[in-house]
Structures are given as C-alpha cells and as structure tokens.
C-alpha cells in the first residue's frame, strides 16, 4: 500500500481515496464474499465499509497499518449488515455439473457443498477469523490484532470453525449408506 496515498486520503484528498479504494476493493470484496457467502450482500458491505473508511480515515494514526484497519472495518460492516439481510442471503448454489465428468469431480462438488453448508451455520465471528487466516493468510496473532480480540479468542474461534468444517468434510467422505444411518 502506498503510504503517500493513504496520507493524502487521510487529509481529505478524494482522488487519493479513489486510488485507495481501487487498490483494496478486490481483496476486501473477496473477504466479504467469503464471510457472508452472498455476492450481492458482499458488494453492499464493501460499499458501506469504504464509506466508513473515508469518514474515519483522519483517526488512522499510522498509514502503514491501513490494510489491517481496513479489514477490521470490513469485518464490522459484515457483522452489521449480515443479520439485516438474512432473508436475502442466497441459500441456493448452482453446481456446475457439466464439469463433473468423473467420480473425483463429483466428490469435489460434494466436498464443497458440505463445506459451504457447514460454513453457513457458523457464527460470523468464527467465519471472519477463518477467512482472514486461511484466505488472506494472516497469522493468528495478526488476525487477533486486526479484529481487536485476544489471541486466545482468535485461536478458539478458528478451532471451532475448523472442527465444524472438518466434521462436515468427513461426513461427505463417508459412504452413502453410512451418511443415511444404515448399518450392515
């Protein structure tokens, strides 16, 4: 991130903020999409988060910390927006069955579907930690700092999220008859 651009945006330079918004929007949208699992809602959240960043930029003490600060605002925007729009959240996912040409492809789709369902059942705070750690690639300490939570809290949220996803994944791997509760 160009420190000078952040500094200028912080001083009220709207063109600098436009540069900044273009630089970070794809990453932020990616995070929002993965936390919320709804592309349209993620775009709404991105818009609100960017406007919040504009308003609050003068409070940013260190321009070098812009990225973490932006993640934090985005995640709070996800918290704020997601419950308001629950009814609108897409629960239907289109599976591209045309590429499922063999057993492995079908298994991959099944894996993704189970992960998706399990992830949607997670609380937003666990989703946020999981996405920042596994998608953005932040170390857990950095995730905790970004979200303003203790390290142990970040660790436990990641643990619960991973455990839920792992359980769902294992279920997808199990033979069909086991999944349906039948025994030999």
């Amino acid at each position: 991130m160009d420190r000078d651009v952040v500094e200028r945006a912080r001083s009220g330079d709207q063109e600098a903020f436009a540069d900044l918004a273009h630089q970070v929007s794809d990453t932020l949208l990616g995070v929002a999409r993965r936390i919320l699992r709804d592309p349209a809602l993620a775009e709404d959240v991105l818009q609100n988060a960017l406007l919040t960043m504009w308003r609050k930029l003068p409070h940013l003490r260190d321009a070098d910390r812009f990225e973490g600060w932006a993640f934090r605002i985005l995640v709070h925007a996800c918290y704020a927006e997601a419950p308001r729009n629950r009814r609108w959240a897409s629960t239907i996912r289109v599976l591209h069955t045309d590429v499922a040409s063999d057993v492995d492809d079908i298994q991959m789709i099944s894996d993704r579907d189970e992960l998706e369902r399990a992830f949607r059942r997670l609380p937003l705070d666990q989703r946020a930690v999981f996405v920042l750690h596994h998608y953005v690639g932040l170390p857990l300490v950095a995730v905790a700092k970004t979200l303003g939570i203790p390290d142990g809290t970040a660790r436990s949220r990641l643990h619960y999220a991973t455990r839920a996803l792992r359980a769902a994944f294992d279920l997808a791997q199990a033979p069909q008859d086991l999944r349906e509760g039948r025994t030999a």
Binding site: Q14, A21, S25, R33, L46, N48, T52, D111, H134, Q173
Partner: protein
C-alpha cells in the same frame, strides 16, 4: 493423500472459488457518495489555526458564543453550555453511576453526533465521547428536549458506533446504531420520552407498493431507514442503478444521484416513486465532481461542484419545480458565481485542502437553505439566486423540520474549516430567515 491433506486441499479449493473483481459501478457509487460525505475529524490534536483565518469569523464566533452562553444559561442555568456537572463531581457522588447519570455525563462532555426535530418542536440530540474507531471506553447518549426543557435522557450504548437520529413519521424519533456494542440495536423514542429498544435489521422490512409518505428517510452512507420500524436497509433494496446519495420527499418519492455506467463523467439523477425508477442526465459540466441535492414536494435542487480549479467550486445548478418534468440548468461560471458564491477550502498556504461539506434543506417546500461548507448560510426562494443569512457561528449541517430547518453550528475554535470542527450547538431557522437558538444539551 491423507485425510488432513485432503481436507486442507478441499478448503483451499473451496475458498479460492469464484472471481473477486469488484464491479466498477460498486466503486463508482461509493466515490460519488464520498464526494459529499464529510470526514470525521480527530479532535485529540487541535488543528493549527491559520494566521490568515478570517478575523471576522473569529470575532463573530466569540460574540456568538458569549450571546449563546448567556441566552441558554438564562433559559436553564443547570444545562447551560459548559455549565453541566463535571465528571469528577458525578463520580464522587455516585461511585457506581446509574445509566441515567452516565447518560448525563456523556451529554455534558461529548460531541454532538446527530440530531433530529419534529414539527411540534421536540428535538432529539445524540452525544458521544468516542473519537477513534474501535474505542471501548466511551459511549453515546441521547437527550430529548422541548424548548429549554430537558424531557428525558438515556444511553444508546458503549463503544465506538455510528449513531443517527431521525424524526419518525408517526411522531417521536428513531435512533439507529451501528458499531461494536450492538450493530442491530436502536430505539424508538416517543415524544413523551418513553424509549423502547428495537431491532434495526432489514430482513423482514417491507413497505406498501407505493412509498408511504414520510416513512423512509435517507441515512448515513448508502442506507435508508424505515422510521416506523427502525429497519436500516442498504439502498440496493430499492432496485435500479447503484445510488450515490438521495433524499425522500414528504410524499414518499426518492430522488437520488445514481451511477452512470456508460458515461462516468455525466451526473445522472433518478426518481423512485415506490414502483420504478426514472432517470435523467443533468447538464454536462465537464466532469461533475460532487453534488448535493435537496427535494421537497415537486421542487428538487442539485448543486454540482468540481475539484478544479478550486475544490468544491460550484460548476452547475439544476432545478426542477415540477417533479422532474422540466429542468432549468445553469452551467455558466459567471452566473453561478453570482448565484451562490461557492468557493473551496484550500488553506492559505495552498498546501492542502478539505472536502467541504455542503448541506441543503428545504424549509417547507418553497424556501431553500444551503450551508456552503465554509460555514456560511444562504437562502433562496427561486432556487437560482441566494441571499446570505446571518447565523451566530459556522453552519455545517441542515435538517428539514416542517416549515423550518435545524442547523448545527459552532464557533469553530481551534480549527480552520467547519468540516474539521466540533460544532455542538443548534439553531432553528424559519422560512422567513429568522434564527432562534435551540437548547441542545
């Protein structure tokens, strides 16, 4: 592949799925909104005061403060400006402060965050002591008053938040909060001071097919509020092109500046009647940079500004008095300069500039007030020529309330421009231009 690796691979594959390219219209709408959205200022470090600052402003501000303090103290000594209880006194009297005393402490010490007024004269103010994103040792409180009388106070919440106040269509007020302490919390506050908590979730929100008069109001950012239920919804719920900023008229129509995907430099306005949208491109002014609009009845006024040669210089004025059937548009710089002497906020040494916050509101439907961002207030009845209105202090924000507007004002002490100042007082400005102080805390 073992189970762990298979799991990690599946998660990575699942997380990488899909494109994250941001649609241009999503960013464009934000940038359009940014141009008429003020930045919050960090008040922990006072802005250096320019030696070139207008002495007239300083003198007027000092006089206004003296007059304001005297007037408001006379109305109610206990709640006069700066005369509220000190925090030390409050803590000594009550080691475990009750919610009421905590609210009063925040009101006494905090900055004015938001305000709203009803046509009956009730005024709701929201005060906050949070100045940094993520602060937790701070909070927000509300005060309901009529005239000089404090009718009720209460806590909104603790921790950094964005709290907004709106007049409700059925009387009373709606408070919405978005922040760490409760993103979906709000309050309905009746005019007798009774406060009931509400959810501001949008998921069950619905309205009649034709937009109900006075029910929806524009909120911060790209949201609107249902003043009956308190639901806060993103403007995308209304369909159409991405909205940048809008204003609902009393009859329920929404006028909004919208993103123009095909011609980004063209400013486009849309009208939503509760069923569908109609769009119109406003006069091309060579890359309109920002704009603000006000709407009341059939009257809509759009001020367009550009960044060069001076930030926020007025470059276009679009007016309709027949709900958009016909528009009169002024783009001639000389005419504009005489119509409304807008200018920028470049500092005296020309090293930096601020995004000025221009605010407009109608008093009734036939008198328009404009706070020009330098702290000056202007009045117009034909919406193309403007006369200066004397107000004791800098003006930064206007809100309509029946046949008057409420303005946020302040003395601007310790800062260079209204957009960078704490302005914690309110005045009511009638349609005839008369100004009356309002007791805000």
């Amino acid at each position: 592949m073992n189970d762990r690796r298979r799991f990690d691979h599946a998660v990575a594959d699942w997380l990488d799925d899909g494109s994250d390219a941001t649609p241009p219209e999503v960013i464009d709408a934000v940038l359009l909104a940014v141009r008429s959205t003020p930045q919050e200022r960090d008040f922990r470090f006072p802005w250096r005061t320019s030696p070139m600052k207008h002495l007239a402003y300083a003198a007027a501000a000092v006089a206004a403060l003296a007059v304001g303090v005297a007037a408001l103290s006379a109305l109610s000594p206990r709640f006069g400006i700066g005369l509220g209880p000190t925090p030390a006194a409050t803590i000594q009297q009550s080691p475990a402060p009750s919610p009421r005393s905590e609210a009063e402490q925040i009101i006494a010490e905090g900055s004015l965050e938001s305000f709203a007024a009803t046509e009956s004269g009730a005024v709701l103010t929201v005060w906050g002591t949070c100045h940094n994103f993520g602060d937790t040792d701070c909070g927000y409180a509300w005060r309901l008053g009529t005239g000089s009388h404090t009718q009720a106070t209460g806590m909104v919440g603790r921790g950094d938040a964005r709290v907004d106040a709106f007049a409700a269509s059925g009387g009373g007020f709606v408070l919405t909060g978005a922040g760490q302490s409760g993103p979906d919390r709000g309050f309905l506050i009746a005019e007798d001071g009774a406060a009931s908590p509400i959810s501001t979730e949008c998921h069950d929100a619905s309205w009649p097919t034709s937009t109900e008069p006075r029910r929806l109001v524009w909120a911060a950012g790209l949201n609107f509020v249902d003043t009956v239920t308190g639901a806060v919804c993103h403007s995308g719920r209304l369909g159409g092109r991405p909205l940048a900023r809008g204003a609902f008229t009393a009859d329920g129509a929404l006028w909004a500046l919208v993103d123009n995907e095909t011609a980004p430099d063209t400013l486009t306005i849309g009208r939503y009647d509760g069923v569908g949208w109609r769009y119109r491109d406003l006069a091309a002014v060579g890359g309109a940079w920002t704009s603000v609009l006000a709407a009341a009845g059939s009257n809509v006024v759009v001020l367009q500004a550009a960044p060069e040669p001076t930030p926020q210089q007025l470059v276009g004025l679009s007016v309709t008095t027949d709900a958009g059937a016909t528009w009169s548009e002024v783009v001639d710089p000389e005419v504009l300069d005489s119509a409304l002497p807008f200018s920028g906020f470049r500092s005296p040494d020309s090293q930096d500039w601020f995004s000025g916050y221009t605010s407009m509101a109608f008093a009734g439907s036939s008198v328009l007030y404009v706070a020009d961002g330098r702290g000056d207030l202007w009045r117009s009845t034909d919406f193309t020529t403007f006369s200066h209105v004397e107000v004791p202090g800098w003006v930064s924000e206007l809100k309509p309330t029946g046949d008057a507007v409420i303005a946020r004002i302040g003395d601007g002490a310790g800062c260079r421009y209204p957009a960078a100042c704490q302005l914690n007082d309110l005045v009511r400005i009638s349609a005839d231009g008369s100004v009356e102080p309002i007791k805000a805390r």
